[in-house]
Symmetry: C2
Subunit: 245 residues, 2 copies
């Protein structure tokens, strides 16, 4: 008979790739670890899953401890379990990613971390454990998701302009989009509420403000609808447009 006890000596953690969008740039929340291993190094926010805690609950807990936010977009992505990925023993980690409105809160250093900070996704490298790999898997997932479901709005303030929305998509998809086609497509989906307000305090023509229509979206979902977005086919030569017709 097999000795099952040998199997019950592992642990698992959740790691959370928290995306935010600010100043036209896609950012990730990192924490400086307060504990060994990798003390004082940067890592994705994460911690052990408690013995009587569901995985999703653990991911939520980590997120809340760090940001104070509840009810944000959070989804499981992939599990990483290489034998020697953790120095303390066999520890596999379930990676989650979440999307938050960066402007909605100020960071609160939690017990699990010495400090937390936002970093541009393009600059992040050299994280602890296998977190570089985890980040990249989550980023790929975000890229896919953003074309498939209107989750972009989770990253923007409640009121936003179409240009902001476009910049968000461009940051995530790492491509340039055509302004006219983008607006046409987005508006044709009929998921935005035109607030009949405009930006204030900008030194140029102020843009209209929109809001995501969550109700209509849920209605569409229940009717079986699919959201899709494609990038330009021609490699984008940014800036240039037609030369006088």
């Amino acid at each position: 008979m097999t000795d099952f006890n040998e199997y019950f000596k592992s642990a698992f953690t959740v790691d959370n790739v928290i995306f935010g969008f600010d100043e036209g740039d896609l950012k990730v929340l990192l924490m400086k670890r307060g504990e060994e291993p990798y003390k004082d190094k940067f890592a994705l926010p994460g911690y052990f899953v408690n013995p009587n805690e569901d995985l999703d609950a653990a991911a939520k807990r980590v997120l809340e401890q760090l940001t104070g936010l509840r009810n944000v977009f959070l989804e499981q992505v992939k599990t990483f379990g290489t034998v020697d990925r953790h120095p303390a023993g066999r520890v596999i980690t379930i990676a989650y990613f979440s999307l938050i409105k960066i402007s909605h809160f100020t960071l609160q250093p939690a017990s699990i971390a010495e400090s937390v900070q936002w970093r541009s996704i393009s600059e992040v490298r050299g994280l602890s454990f296998d977190h570089d790999e985890i980040l990249s898997a989550c980023f790929d997932r975000l890229k896919w998701l953003v074309r498939t479901r209107p989750v972009g709005f989770e990253l923007l303030p409640r009121k936003f302009t179409l240009t902001e929305l476009q910049h968000l998509y461009e940051a995530i998809l790492e491509t340039k989009l055509d302004k006219r086609n983008f607006r046409k497509k987005i508006l044709s989906m009929d998921l935005l509420i035109d607030l009949d307000e405009t930006q204030e305090g900008v030194a140029h023509r102020p843009a209209r403000l929109y809001q995501f229509d969550r109700n209509k979206y849920e209605q569409f979902l229940s009717e079986g609808f699919s959201f899709e977005l494609k990038e330009n086919k021609k490699k984008n030569k940014k800036g240039k447009e037609e030369s006088v017709a």
Copy 2:
């Protein structure tokens, strides 16, 4: 200081949804469990991950023990970790799915199972643990994948007819496809080798045989190409077509 030992009392398993295609029907490989819990009940093939074994390796091992097959399509899907999903303690499971050519082998009952058998996906219900849920997550993934990457071929014999391929897609997507449009689309992808052979031993006009061109596919991949398939938009009223022009 936290007592980390408390965390190292968990185990994890891999569970594998093994898809096959036979007689126009999408099938799943199930095993009758030889051990408690759920002894003599049906479950997805799976087992504990050994302490010094990577997750992917464990999934491969389970698959090979059961089918004798190596080098088949195998991909991680999702991790299930509800606190009380396993009676023996805290056991989370990493779900994988694989695609195999059902005709390529005969089943070999392994030590981990009393018996194994193929079941039509539409008939499977009431599996052990949370395996119904796992199966459904993997089926959803397959549906998505089949529209995104040409993985259908993994489920067919090396030589197949276009009608067989169409039936496979119909079984997976649970929809009817238009014969002419399907053929046009598939052939236009230029991923099939026309073998210049025909079926034998059929009581009607024999169909041409094709083979998947893996080399060309890999070439396309490296050039950044995307495979896509869509179902009919009009709900399919099967059988009916134009009334004499």
